[in-house]
């Protein structure tokens, strides 16, 4: 008998000329929980997408239960007993639990849907998993945690033997996580193998039998959990090496000012953010560090007035900010997390995107002057080194890095005093990343302030004068640049439990 449910051997994959996976071996023991960790862009998702047939590998072998298979699409993966619990849940909100579980594999009787049998089976599944849930409840009425469980039930209804979970706890509460872990252990006891992808080290140590670490497309460590410590795991996640040259701290030309540009006092947002206070001074770059779901985005969006706060005050140069209009009038700019969704109108041209925040600047007697539009757009292209074939090019045709530069330009042109950036470098190539960081440094040197969020800690260390650590919606620490000797220190601060 074979010990492994899945064996991926010498997998290679490139996107264009960029290699994403290099000779990756990944073996999943039957009935075990195998954690897959690594920084953003390390190749975790790509590897799992190859396993589930979303991407096709360039070379390498894939064995399921010792037998070599070629998986072309997700349906074939499911036939091999492999299920993926999507990060973005794949449930249909307007249908109920039963409908979702049996979607596209409905049970029929005489050509008509057999609701009775489907409901019974759904109830059985729930019982097996010890989930208390009404199977006739619509998905939209359920919390994220319950949806996650329905996803698992859906996977199990396929007679699955392998479940891939991508960041399953990112948006769950502690209580829901406990339920999820109970179910994962139960699944394991039933001989189901699980690939568990997460950034949360505590959870991994709690639940995984084995850990594989990916670093820029290579497996740098793969051994039983007991052989890792938090420190050694973090070290291998960073590839056991020093920061790249471009990601190094550079001494700033301007001293940090004394007066507070932004003051956030006792901020509460829904049930997410609890009593967060901090300030950003003139010429200062402040980072908010924390895991996904720690409340970073919510804080940024509230400062910009997009979200309603429950209580607390946000002062920009001593003026209160409660809505977007006030934020913009008081010279705040937000570069949102998802540039394609919230940053750009992709079907519109580069210049139309840039002027939308600067309509006052391109007008004369109320009329938009093409000359001014050209000037402001060409300035953006020159200042930020945007690679674009003219200003009329559709932004959907630009690369990720250049799209991001367009979003930054449209706000820099408003000459903000405080620029807030939410993951500005995600999906951006290393060269553009370096450029974006340099733009921010120069901007702060000119006497402006920056509030910066990134999942890539090396970036934060490279530019932040001060970093505020967030965990589960609370500020748990504050580190100045001098405190952070290396990336491990910051990693540790983010991962560690509250000290009280």
């Amino acid at each position: 008998m074979n010990d492994y449910a899945i064996e991926l051997l010498s997998i290679n994959k490139s996107f264009g000329r960029v290699p994403v996976l290099k000779d990756v071996d990944f073996k999943l023991r039957k009935g075990s929980i195998h954690a897959l960790v690594g920084g953003n862009g390390a190749g975790k998702s790509t590897l799992m997408k190859i396993l589930t047939g979303v991407y096709v590998k360039d070379s390498g072998t894939c064995k399921v239960n010792g037998k070599e298979v070629v998986i072309h699409n997700y349906n074939e993966a499911r036939r091999e007993g492999i299920s993926l619990i999507f990060q973005e849940l794949s449930l249909i909100p307007t249908l109920d639990v039963t409908d979702n579980i049996f979607l596209n594999k409905e049970i029929k009787k005489g050509g008509l849907l057999d609701y009775k049998t489907m409901n019974q089976r759904a109830i059985q599944l729930m019982k097996k998993l010890e989930i208390e849930l009404d199977v006739n409840e619509k998905i939209k009425n359920l919390g994220v945690g319950s949806c996650q469980l329905v996803e698992i039930a859906k996977a199990l209804s396929d007679d699955t033997s392998v479940i891939v979970m991508d960041e399953p706890t990112a948006s769950l509460s502690d209580k829901e996580i406990a339920i999820l872990f109970k179910i994962i252990k139960q699944l394991k006891a039933r001989g189901i193998s699980i690939v568990y992808i997460s950034h949360r080290m505590n959870e991994i140590f709690q639940i995984a039998d084995e850990i594989s670490v990916l670093y820029s497309g290579k497996v740098v460590a793969s051994k039983p959990t007991q052989e890792f410590t938090l420190n050694s795991l973090i070290e291998s996640m960073l590839g056991g090496k020093k920061n790249e040259e471009s990601m190094k701290w550079k001494e700033r030309k301007t001293q940090i000012g004394i007066h507070n540009v932004l003051e956030v006092k006792n901020l509460y947002i829904d049930d997410i953010i609890k009593n967060v206070s901090f300030v950003v001074k003139q010429s200062e770059i402040v980072g908010l560090a924390g895991l996904m779901g720690s409340g970073r985005t919510e804080i940024l969006e509230t400062i910009f007035g997009l979200r309603k706060k429950k209580s607390g005050t946000i002062l920009m140069e001593n003026k209160e900010i409660n809505n977007v209009k006030q934020a913009i009038n008081n010279k705040i700019a937000l570069i949102p997390e998802d540039r394609r969704r919230s940053g750009l109108v992709l079907m519109h041209s580069l210049c139309d995107n840039i002027i939308i925040t600067n309509l006052d600047k391109v007008r004369k007697y109320g009329f938009i002057k093409n000359k001014k539009v050209k000037k402001i757009s060409n300035e953006a292209i020159d200042n930020l080194n945007i690679k674009s074939d003219g200003i009329k090019i559709k932004t959907s045709l630009l690369s990720g890095g250049n799209q991001q530069k367009v979003v930054i330009s449209k706000w820099l042109a408003t000459s903000p005093k405080l620029i807030i950036l939410d993951e500005p470098t995600s999906g951006v190539d290393i060269h553009a990343k370096t450029e974006i960081l340099e733009i921010l440094r120069n901007y702060a040197d000119e006497g402006n302030s920056v509030l910066f969020v990134s999942s890539e800690l090396s970036e934060m260390i490279a530019i932040c004068d001060r970093i505020i650590v967030l965990k589960d919606g609370e500020a748990t620490g504050e580190l100045t640049h001098k405190d952070i000797k290396n990336e491990e220190v910051l990693h540790y601060a983010i991962q560690k439990e509250k000290s009280n």
Binding site: L306, S342, H348, F367, I368
Partner: protein, 315 residues
């Protein structure tokens, strides 16, 4: 590496003009001078003036990702309002103001329903459409009101300056204003940004509620103006005016290259689209087809024209 690229002209943006030219040519070949004469073509511009004027405003509505089905009903109610005020006061200014202000108010209500109550515009305006048409019937107990003010009828109806129908001049005026609004004012840029990506528009600080209320108000205003033209042309106002016009207006806008999904608008195209529909009607009547045949052929031509323009746009 430096390279130059020609100023690309995207032929597909001009497809409606090409279709228009082809249809014009085919009818001219088929029907000769009866169709292809200055007087007949000017006649077409007069017949289509109402739809053309409403198409300009509908361009903004559709470009912002919304729809307005109440325009036909607004035509009827504003025509009756103008006629009623003329009957009571014989004052053209009062009649105009009364009808136009009513149009703006109805539009603003549509806008409020869509933004503040979050009702999909399709349903909100379907509802208001029924209410307005009902009011129009109730208001006069379904009777017509005739208009005896000759100046009014001249200025907004059958009048001509030399050979130029006055309603044609009104149409061109509305077209120019709409064109400037969409391409030269920040208002137009905001409308397109909302239709292209409402979330990004919100993150850019655009006041979506305000802009959408303005869009619907302008739609109401121009529908009311179309109602005035209807009344003046017929020298009467009836509650049946504008029935089904909303569909012609929407068809004209889409034919003209405005995306149903929003984010893109073409004012000149919308007016050409309206003329295209008018030319088809006119040509088929001159061609001697009976009403049932006209309906069938018109349906086919619309489908072919839209298929042609949307198909080519995908490339």
């Amino acid at each position: 590496m430096q390279y130059k690229k020609k100023n690309q002209i995207n032929i597909y943006d001009y497809i409606v003009y090409i279709v228009f030219a082809i249809v014009l040519l085919l009818f001219a070949l088929w029907l000769g001078g009866n169709f292809f004469s200055a007087s007949n073509l000017l006649n077409v511009t007069r017949q289509t003036a109402m739809v053309s004027i409403m198409a300009v405003a509908m361009c903004f509505v559709i470009a912002s990702g919304e729809i307005d089905l109440s325009v036909g009903a607004v035509v009827a109610l504003s025509a009756l309002t103008a006629a009623w005020i003329l009957e009571k006061t014989n004052n053209i200014m009062f009649a105009l103001m009364g009808a136009l202000v009513l149009g703006i108010l109805i539009g603003a209500i549509n806008g409020l329903l869509v933004t503040l109550l979050n009702i999909p515009s399709f349903l909100a305006t379907l509802g208001t459409s029924s209410i307005i048409r009902g009011f129009a019937m109730w208001f006069t107990a379904t009777k017509a009101i005739s208009i005896r003010n000759e100046t009014f009828n001249f200025m907004f109806g059958m009048g001509k300056i030399k050979f130029m129908p006055i309603v044609f001049i009104w149409t061109v005026l509305v077209l120019i204003i709409g064109y400037i609004q969409l391409t030269k004012l920040s208002y137009g840029k905001k409308v397109l940004a909302i239709g292209g990506n409402q979330i990004a528009a919100r993150y850019s600080g655009i006041n979506i509620t305000k802009i959408k209320i303005l869009i619907f108000s302008e739609m109401g205003l121009l529908s009311a103006f179309a109602g005035i033209i209807y009344a003046a042309r017929m020298q009467t106002a009836r509650y049946t005016y504008g029935q089904g016009d909303e569909m012609n207006v929407i068809a004209a806008v889409v034919l003209g290259g405005t995306a149903m999904s929003g984010g893109k608008g073409n004012i000149i195209g919308a007016v050409i689209g309206s003329l295209l529909l008018g030319v088809i009607n006119n040509g088929l009547i001159i061609g001697g087809l009976d009403t049932s045949q006209q309906q069938i052929v018109r349906g086919f031509i619309i489908i072919i024209a839209v298929a042609f323009s949307t198909f080519s746009r995908k490339k």
